[in-house]
Symmetry: C2
Subunit: 307 residues, 2 copies
Amino acid sequence: MKELEIINTIKNILNSEFIGDDCAYLKDLGIVVTQDSLVEDIHFSRKFSTPFQLGYKSIAVNLSDIYASGAEAKYLTVSLSLPKNIENNFVEEFYKGAKSALNSAKIVGGDITGADKIYISVTAIGSAKDRKISSRKNAQKGYKIITNGLHGSSSAGLYILQNNIEGYETLKNEHLMPYVSSKLSDSIAKTAKFNYAMMDSSDGLMDALFKIADNSNVKAKIYFNKIPYDKSIENFDYKNMIFYGGEDYKLVCAISPDDLNNIDNNLYYEIGEIIEKTDDNIVEIQCEKEIKTFTKKDIEKNLFKHF
Amino acid sequence: MKELEIINTIKNILNSEFIGDDCAYLKDLGIVVTQDSLVEDIHFSRKFSTPFQLGYKSIAVNLSDIYASGAEAKYLTVSLSLPKNIENNFVEEFYKGAKSALNSAKIVGGDITGADKIYISVTAIGSAKDRKISSRKNAQKGYKIITNGLHGSSSAGLYILQNNIEGYETLKNEHLMPYVSSKLSDSIAKTAKFNYAMMDSSDGLMDALFKIADNSNVKAKIYFNKIPYDKSIENFDYKNMIFYGGEDYKLVCAISPDDLNNIDNNLYYEIGEIIEKTDDNIVEIQCEKEIKTFTKKDIEKNLFKHF
């Protein structure tokens, strides 16, 4: 089964309005919640990641989901499953790395069990108090599209690690310990007067743009020359890394121009805008003089056009 | 590393007052949270459990932790990792089983990833609104010790499954789909005037008694002939199954006699009382005329005395 089929199966059984978003907003409790898992040899390899880096990344990717919702990250639980042959200091190093990613959030529980491979599942809880919470459905014609960091570094870093290429420490580090920041999220959630649509780029910049456009029934126009990226990735297949690489964990947000006026412009890069209401051709990328349009069918069939 | 060592390592790094309890009580948010994982061939086997039963149990064991805290179970997230060779209807059957265990709680998120074996990690969130929340530290001299179900059935059921013994459907079912109930928890949490100490028997009746006594610095006296159990387990090593078997997921609570007066006595069995303040000999079991005392050192060394 493909991911979309699986999600539909689950939705049909549970009849839940929550399934499908990264963070669930539980209004009655005033919180958001997200759970993300990292599985050895699927999401990471012990060849590349130290236990410290794994601890850091397990926390950071979940905080990133909380930031994408606009909530204040508060608490996390960590479930760790470890094989018998794990190095003696794994738990200590893992939690030191986890702690280094926490910012002001706290780890408050979880469990440790045995397993054949390393399996890490983290749940993060954020507070919605005094904040406007994001929804992918909120983008409107005229909204600006902004992001808060460089795209493509993580997948370039993974490529470099997998191909044993020397140098490029910054890119490798962005893959192993992606930098996540709450600053843009805090600023928007505390000041926005209109609804906004924010996601993180965990599955790639294109995925974030698609999901916002698809859920809001709008068309997003992106100017390639405005997308921030590390110039050193131009040595690789950089355009595809930028759009489809994933794991950069940067925020992508469609926000009203009025609200954007109140955000410190050091916190974001403006990369495009929402240009019209539509149900089909939902993402348009202008790259020099060429314009590529991506339809809803492209997403559903996983037909990603390469650059 | 043993479990206690691991927990101490984590505590030292995180400097958190929360680590060590099954549910963390997040007072500022008015919620409790717990996360528990089930790993194939460690916690269950596909030989014995159907996908439906696995879905049910994954939810039930986490609801049980919420009930043990006294909170109202509200929301869950489910992280599922599945091998490629999984049967086609696994996700559907798993979620049907999960749904059957939900009562009024809702599944609001999670993820599905690949893995070598089935790995299930569930987080449950409960509301503390208008309820007094339990802590293991709350037991006092004079408190009554009560439980809300039969002990030993689950481990007897597992033994029967593993040894391919015919019959005993009730016991097998209690292992595969343990019955959990919020009734006693709801009643205590909504009416208690004094603090109380409640746990579930996920790791066995003795473990629950030990942890309450140890954290409260009291001695618990239990009358073996008052412990409810299914008489059919007398065909096996039943006393050890009752005390050390685990996975029954029944509530064990030390509660003031005054508060107990307000609880419908159809909801519990009284099995003992807290008899004194002490730092060492903390659980005493009276079994016919024989009295066995269990010290704190017995726990720390994992020296469980067999009956």
